[in-house]
């Protein structure tokens, strides 16, 4: 190997010269040797990193490590549960990233970071050298938070369906097969989890479907929280469309303070028990478990508690400056865990890496999350959030405006159209 590595350069010139970009010549040499940007995870954060890195730099080598041959978008997967969209629409492959953006995609699982030698080990035995490593493996689920629940059950008769795929279809089929007058239980987790409005969107879509096919059936949301985003809009919708608060309400929301926090699953009797001992029987039981950073993040010492902290200016990890963490695994509060955020974090990281490679200063980061959710096909809602940089060792500062319940049907309708448009544009922005 005759390649000059960054480590060699540091030995020769010192880390300071390199990181401050004073060494114009050495930075150039680094770029000429085609720095290798390796990315763990080909989901929203990882794929956006690959594409946006390429938009900035035609010469770097970019490798994504991803175990799955295709990626299924979670945005839109509630529509699949309710039967008005298909998984196929949400499924993309890596062909465009490979051919159009010259990204090397290795179908494997990353296992271990050798920080000292800047190498990444993969499950099948390959070892990759990296100059920069971007980590975006999404979250893992804490199945154990609900006694009696497990990964096996989630993959079987008790789908969580919080990562779009086979479980999404199982849940859809179970709802289609619900006996007349049956009950669907949805357990909504503690914060933070991916896509804060999605459990309530799911409950609304399911109730809408049941209204047509099974009008005496019921959806009960057992919540581990007392509040959630778009609370007022959803409650307004449920009152107007599903008789919330009346004796034959099609939808019920049980907040934590009313005993909604689920602690136990009994698979035999198909019941959920909550913290205050209430027992709910469900024909369909959809437990959305609490989350934590993906196992790759935790096993490699990048997490502190459940999530991985980072330097705010460039999302480099606290553990190692050349390893970056983005997406749902990052401790990015007050940023919510959304694909929109993951993709914009990717843009901050790639711009920072490009600045380093070209000996420029890393600029001030800026992140938005303009999220859309629906209660029904013509009942949309939006939240526009911006996150401003407030210093490298501080959290970003948030500012937001969000939809209120409105009596104006045009607003609701156009917001729903915006939501549908967004899903299509977003998929293209990341994978096309």
């Amino acid at each position: 190997m005759n390649k000059i590595t960054r480590r060699d350069l540091i030995k020769l010139f010192g880390a300071g010269a390199l990181s401050t970009g004073l060494m114009g010549a050495s930075s150039l040499a680094f770029a000429k040797q085609s720095a290798h940007i390796v990315i763990v995870g080909g989901g929203v954060g990882g794929a956006a990193s690959a594409k946006y890195m390429r938009l900035l730099n035609p010469d770097v080598r970019i490798t994504i490590v991803e175990p799955e041959p295709k990626y299924i978008f979670c945005p839109g997967s509630n529509e699949v549960v309710a039967g008005f969209d298909t998984l196929e629409t949400l499924t993309v492959d890596y062909n465009t990233l490979k051919s159009r953006y010259a990204v090397n995609v290795i179908q494997d699982r990353a296992t271990e970071i050798d920080y000292a030698n800047k190498k990444l080990k993969l499950a099948k035995g390959d070892v990759l050298s990296y100059d920069k490593l971007i980590v975006s493996p999404g979250p893992d689920f804490k199945y154990g938070a609900v006694e009696g629940y497990s990964k096996q059950l989630a993959e079987g008769d008790f789908p969580a369906a919080w990562h779009a795929g086979p479980q999404t279809l199982t849940l859809r089929d179970q709802i289609n097969a619900l006996p007349q007058g049956g009950t669907v239980l949805i357990s909504s987790p503690v914060d933070p989890y991916r896509c804060p409005p999605a459990p309530y969107e799911r409950a609304s879509f399911v109730a809408n479907k049941l209204k047509e096919t099974n009008p005496t059936a019921k959806v009960i949301i057992l919540d581990s929280k007392d509040d959630f985003i778009f609370h007022d809009v959803y409650l307004d919708y449920w009152k107007k469309e599903h008789g919330l608060g009346t004796a034959d309400a099609r939808i019920e929301w049980v907040p934590k303070k009313a005993g909604g926090h689920v602690t136990k699953l009994d698979t035999k009797n198909r019941t959920l028990t909550t913290a205050d001992g209430q027992v709910h029987k469900g024909d369909v039981i959809n437990i959305i478990p609490p989350e934590m950073a993906g196992s790759f993040v935790r096993m490699n010492g990048l997490a502190k508690g459940d999530w991985a902290p980072f330097n705010s200016q460039d999302f480099s990890t606290k553990r190692d400056k050349d390893v970056y963490i983005i997406g749902d695994s990052a401790a990015a509060d007050p940023m919510p865990k959304t694909g929109y955020i993951a993709s914009n974090q990717a843009k901050v990281v790639t711009k920072a890496i490009q600045a380093e490679l070209t000996g420029k200063e890393i600029g001030t980061p800026f992140i938005t999350n303009n999220c859309v959710a629906m209660a029904a096909d013509d009942w949309g809602m939006t939240v526009a959030e911006t996150f401003r940089y407030a210093g490298n060792h501080h959290a970003y500062e948030e500012s937001y405006v969000m939809s209120d319940p409105t009596e104006n049907p045009y607003y609701r309708h156009i917001r729903a159209e915006v939501a549908k448009n967004w899903q299509r544009t977003f998929r293209k922005d990341i994978f096309s």
């Binding site: 190997m1 390649k3 085609s34 946006y52 390429r54 938009l55 035609p58 770097v60 080598r61 490798t63 159009r100 953006y101 010259a102 070892v127 990759l128 050298s129 007050p334 929109y340 993709s343 914009n344 843009k347 901050v348 711009k351 600029g363 001030t364 980061p365 800026f366 992140i367 938005t368 303009n370 939006t382 526009a384 959030e385 911006t386 401003r388 940089y389 407030a390 500062e397 948030e398 500012s399 937001y400 405006v401 969000m402 939809s403 209120d404 409105t406 104006n408 607003y411 156009i414 917001r415 159209e417 915006v418 549908k420 448009n421 967004w422 299509r424 544009t425 977003f426 293209k428 922005d429």
Partner: protein, 127 residues
């Protein structure tokens, strides 16, 4: 400034003054940094067209600035753009206008990457 209509009443986070203060403490985010935040809705480099979200790539600079300032001032009812625009300074709006004005109003292509990378890299090396 006009009041937001009732349907957009819920807002929060830092105040306009705190927002200004943060802006004054750090260099302004670049036009690329600000503009790339728009791509999830408006497409890569603002070049996606669909029914609800118009393309921004190649938009006349003055037109972009006027629109954003009107959105910011809530001069007419909009679905999300007032909510998005309300936090940006004049300078930031101008930087975004420059960024989009210089983008080609067509989908982004760069077909010669493979060649460019090959010229710089040993064949087949993961290293």
């Amino acid at each position: 400034m006009l009041q937001a209509p009732a349907s957009f009443a819920i807002s929060g986070g830092i105040t306009a003054e705190e927002n200004d203060k943060l802006r004054s403490e750090y260099p302004m985010p670049s036009g690329d940094m600000l503009g790339d935040n728009c791509s999830a809705c408006h497409g890569t480099k603002g070049a996606e067209f669909n029914e609800a979200m118009p393309p921004l790539a190649g938009m006349d600079k003055a037109k972009f600035i006027k629109l954003m300032k009107d959105y910011r001032a809530n001069k007419f009812p909009s679905i999300v753009m007032h909510d998005v625009a309300h936090v940006f300074s004049d300078q930031e709006i101008e930087a975004m206008a420059d960024f989009f004005a210089k983008q080609k109003p067509e989908e982004w292509t760069r077909p010669d990457w493979n060649a460019s990378i090959k010229a710089n890299t040993k064949e087949n090396s993961h290293e």
